[in-house]
């Protein structure tokens, strides 16, 4: 049967088509399996269930010179949202990490880091800088809460995806 006549049958997949799609699916699953961490991190990131939150998206990431007791590299990750950019430098320090951040444009807000066990929170200086120290390793999510009591409207949070510290 020609490609054309088969194509005409639009959605009429026969058993062979189904089989091929099934095989293909299995190929992809075997060769490029979705890491379990996709679901794990997504669920972690969704836990706040903040319907009005803006989303920070990964804009850049790179590693610095090896540092820290374990010889691990510090990482720099930048996230963009529609209104804000946040850059964080993650320094591994033995069992914990230190996070230095910079928010642009600078504005009054609080920065929270949700980790598995607790939430670590800090303010931001007039240049947009903040520091989160003694942060436990593991999954974490950065939440920026804008502090301006704007006219009537509730403050809007901005969330990053879950990252591994």
């Amino acid at each position: 049967m020609s490609a054309e006549s088969r194509a005409g049958a639009a959605d009429q997949l026969d058993a062979r088509d189904e089989e091929l799609l099934g095989l293909l699916r299995e190929c992809h699953e075997a060769l490029d399996p979705m890491p379990g961490s996709v679901v794990e991190r997504s669920l972690f990131a969704l836990a706040l269930q903040d319907l009005d939150a803006e989303v920070f998206r990964l804009a850049e990431r790179y590693e610095l010179e090896p540092a820290g007791a374990r010889g691990e590299e510090a990482r720099v990750v930048t996230f963009d949202s529609d209104s804000l950019t946040v850059m964080i430098r993650i320094h591994p320090q033995d069992r914990v990490v230190r996070v230095d951040g910079w928010l642009a444009p600078p504005q009054p807000c609080r920065v929270e880091l949700r980790t598995g066990g607790r939430v670590i929170s800090t303010g931001v200086d007039e240049e947009g800088r903040f520091v989160l120290d003694q942060v436990p390793r593991g999954l974490a999510q950065l939440v920026v809460r804008r502090g301006e009591p704007m006219t009537g409207s509730a403050e809007q949070s901005i969330l990053t995806p879950a990252i591994v510290l």
Partner: protein, 233 residues
């Protein structure tokens, strides 16, 4: 933190095990053991997804969580088919879920949900790629780190993971036009009733995915029939 064992769906299992069609002891690679039509109880799946959607909209967390478990494997394929590396794909899928939260109320059917998610994942993938392109001038080396150069699929030689009958299919698929590869990759993870909506999500005119998919599948079949055991790579 909430952790759910991905129960129903296979793909979220650890990488080493996987569905492993190549398991040495897997019965009769050539004849019997046709692929289990695991993904074909479409109607059931639809009903379940519809119920989960309602639960999620009512603010019930388990609803949303199950949707994440259920549909992340598809979104992973979409992100990877867009050429993102594994880490970037993971971020793209997460951002898609975060974005869904604010849009849940506007989505009324499981089909619309799937289509919305596929569209959103593509958009997230584009954003990541655009951001990296903008930031990187000419040589684009980091770009290739982030988005696989060999955007097309791994060579069959790499695929010691695959049983023979899979290898033949894989070899053949790799010789298809890239568009076909992407399309079939996503379609293989989609419920049949969703094709039409997914067509729109993939940027194809409504209704066209049928014929296009048909053509891609037809080519694949021709390849398999005419060059049964030749590597074309």
């Amino acid at each position: 933190m909430t952790m759910i064992d991905p129960p129903v769906l296979d793909p979220a299992v650890p990488e080493s095990t996987g569905p492993d069609p190549a398991a040495p002891d897997s019965a009769a690679p050539d004849s019997v053991a046709a692929p289990q039509p695991v993904r074909r109880p479409d109607a059931d799946r639809h009903e379940r997804l519809a119920a989960l959607l309602l639960a999620a909209q009512a603010g019930r967390r388990e609803g949303l969580e199950q949707i994440v478990v259920e549909l992340s494997p598809l979104l992973w394929q979409v992100a990877r088919a867009q050429g993102l590396d594994r880490e970037a794909a993971e971020d793209a899928v997460q951002c898609t879920w975060l974005t869904l939260l604010g849009n849940l109320d506007r989505i009324h059917t499981p089909v619309a949900l799937t289509a919305w998610l596929v569209t959103a994942t593509k958009r997230e993938a584009w954003r990541v790629r655009a951001a990296l392109k903008a930031e990187l001038p000419v040589d684009g080396s980091a770009m290739t780190e982030m988005t696989d150069t060999a955007n097309s699929l791994p060579a069959p030689e790499e695929s010691v993971l695959l049983a023979e009958r899979h290898r033949d299919v894989w070899r053949a698929v790799r010789t298809l036009p890239r568009r076909c590869q992407e399309l079939l990759r996503v379609v293989a993870f989609v419920n049949r009733p969703d094709y039409d909506e997914i067509a729109v999500a993939l940027g194809m005119p409504r209704g066209s995915i049928g014929p296009t998919r048909g053509r891609c599948l037809a080519k694949l079949r021709t390849l398999l029939d005419t060059e049964p055991h030749r590597s074309t790579a």
